[in-house]
Amino acid sequence: MADGNQMSEEAVEKTIGNAKSMTIIATKGTLDWAYPPFILATTAAAMDVDVTMFFTFYGLPLLNKKLDLQLGTLGNPAMKMPMMGMHMGMPSIVGVIPGVTSGATAMMKNMMKKKGVASIEDLREAAVLSDVRIIACQMTLDLFEMDPKDMIDGIELGGAATYMESALTSDVNLYI
């Protein structure tokens, strides 16, 4: 049992032994797709789960210090935004008009702020602060000629084997 704030050695060992773990592969970098990996990672960490995130392909830019995430409007008939007292969908063809993506993005960000939804920047910071292990895919880095210096601190570079080592011992593995 805990003795004041100090856990006994036995209790610490028991806690570590019982700790659940989860990995998430983040493969997409639009504003809407950026949310699920960060929401789940931060919430799991808050529930004492040991979390590893692997960022690859279009998910990798989510680690850039400066984010300017856009909403993908094309080919998403499920996207219906509250507008003028109703929910309006957008015909796919409209998404190709210049300015529509940035307009829809601005609307979404505004809506999120009004509804008290955290920004991706805030969730990412919470993930780092709660010791989520963050792996940037080395191959994607080379492929897209990205520079780790442009990315947030506290991340490591690794490949599929680095991820798999973690996935093989985890209770939950998600691909997003």
Binding site: N5, T15, I39, T43, D48, V117, A126
Partner: protein
């Protein structure tokens, strides 16, 4: 009276949980945290959070559209 109060009104999922976790960490073992929230999802989420982390959900209720929880830190 709880040892500390967290005002999470107006915040949406998962912020009430993240902020509560941080506030619980600052309590001593056995300390209590009162949380005020307006996110309707918070009721089920705080129940699940407490079942998983072992912290005790001592009170859960609603008054005037504001949900109120009291959580006791277990370890």
């Amino acid at each position: 009276m709880a040892d500390a109060t967290l005002d999470a009104k107006g915040l949406n999922c998962p912020l009430p949980i993240l902020k509560a976790k941080k506030a619980i960490k600052e309590l001593g073992v056995g300390g209590t945290l009162e949380i005020l929230a307006t996110d309707p999802g918070a009721i089920k989420d705080f129940e699940a959070f407490c079942r998983t982390t072992g912290n005790e959900l001592m009170e859960s209720g609603e008054e005037g559209g504001v949900f109120r929880f009291v959580i006791k830190r277990a370890a």
